[in-house]
Amino acid sequence: MASEAHAHGHGETLALREQFDTAYQQRDASTLGMWIFLITEVMFFGGMFAAYTIYRSAYPTVFAIASASLNVTIGAINTCVLLLSSFTMVMAVRAGQLGQRKLIIFFLILTLFFGCIFLGVKAYEWTEKYEEHHMPGQAAFHLEGTDLQGPAKLFFSLYFAMTGLHAMHMVVGVGILTFLILETRKGRYSTEYYTPVDISGLYWHFVDVVWIFLFPLLYLIDRHLPK
């Protein structure tokens, strides 16, 4: 790497900080650190998935009815939008590897665009739930087709908590993308150093993976049951 020259002696570079022997070592350390953070996120979401599994098994019928009240077409389309954003994100990282600054910006803007579409659709879905009186805490809360309104509230509490936590991660992601676009415009990143793009990519894909599990669990399972 070009930064080899800086390894011994005077100033440090972004690609090779003083405490590392080589640029590879530094990059590996960044990747490892990001993964350790993502593992804590896995445990964070894992608790919610555990709660969801327990209550779904306790009230399978109500959860199936509540689940079927979600708009599956919108959910599936939004899943595709998020997968597309993951593709554009990895293309931005690839542009980073190749040092193509304009392409990094292009793909980051596309990723930002798809991320915002996802959030917009999510907001629309939530509004719809509010208008249907499916939001726990609403005095007029009522789920049609069942007498068990308590467990129905439980489903929607989990729905809003899980999609809400996920959406919050998306909002943070949107902030990170904006930061990266501005930094790339300043010419901060090159083939030697694009670590922020790289590890932000890991974050974005992780949020995608969470949705990959949320979509079938919230929208799809037992959809064949209520008629």
Partner: protein, 103 residues
């Protein structure tokens, strides 16, 4: 410690193929949900979700090229998630077995 394997650049074709597969799996999992598979509905939905997760992790998150240490951390993390889920669920699903009052 350091590895020279960090600098793998996948082709656009590879990423595009992964994307198309992911989109196809999304369509499949949505359509299959309307077919009555009984309890297998959950199994199929989760199997497809895990496949999608593996595709994203291996290709988009470059786990294919990551160091052994990073892989160890990922597998270790998933192990902790398994402990969280399995022990919690084994508690809930076995509570009625002993018939202890006040369970």
């Amino acid at each position: 410690m350091s590895s020279q394997t960090s600098e793998h650049i996948d082709s656009v074709k590879t990423y595009a193929a992964v994307l198309v597969t992911l989109l196809a799996l999304t369509v499949i999992t949505t359509l299959v949900a309307f077919v009555d598979l009984g309890n297998f509905s959950v199994v199929v939905a989760l199997a497809i979700a895990v496949t999608k997760m593996l595709l994203v992790a291996l290709f988009f998150m470059h786990v294919r090229y990551s160091t052994k240490l990073t892989r160890l951390v990922i597998v270790g993390g998933l192990l902790w998630l398994a402990i969280l889920l399995l022990l919690t669920l084994s508690d809930f699903f076995t509570r009625g077995w002993l018939g202890t009052p006040g369970r």
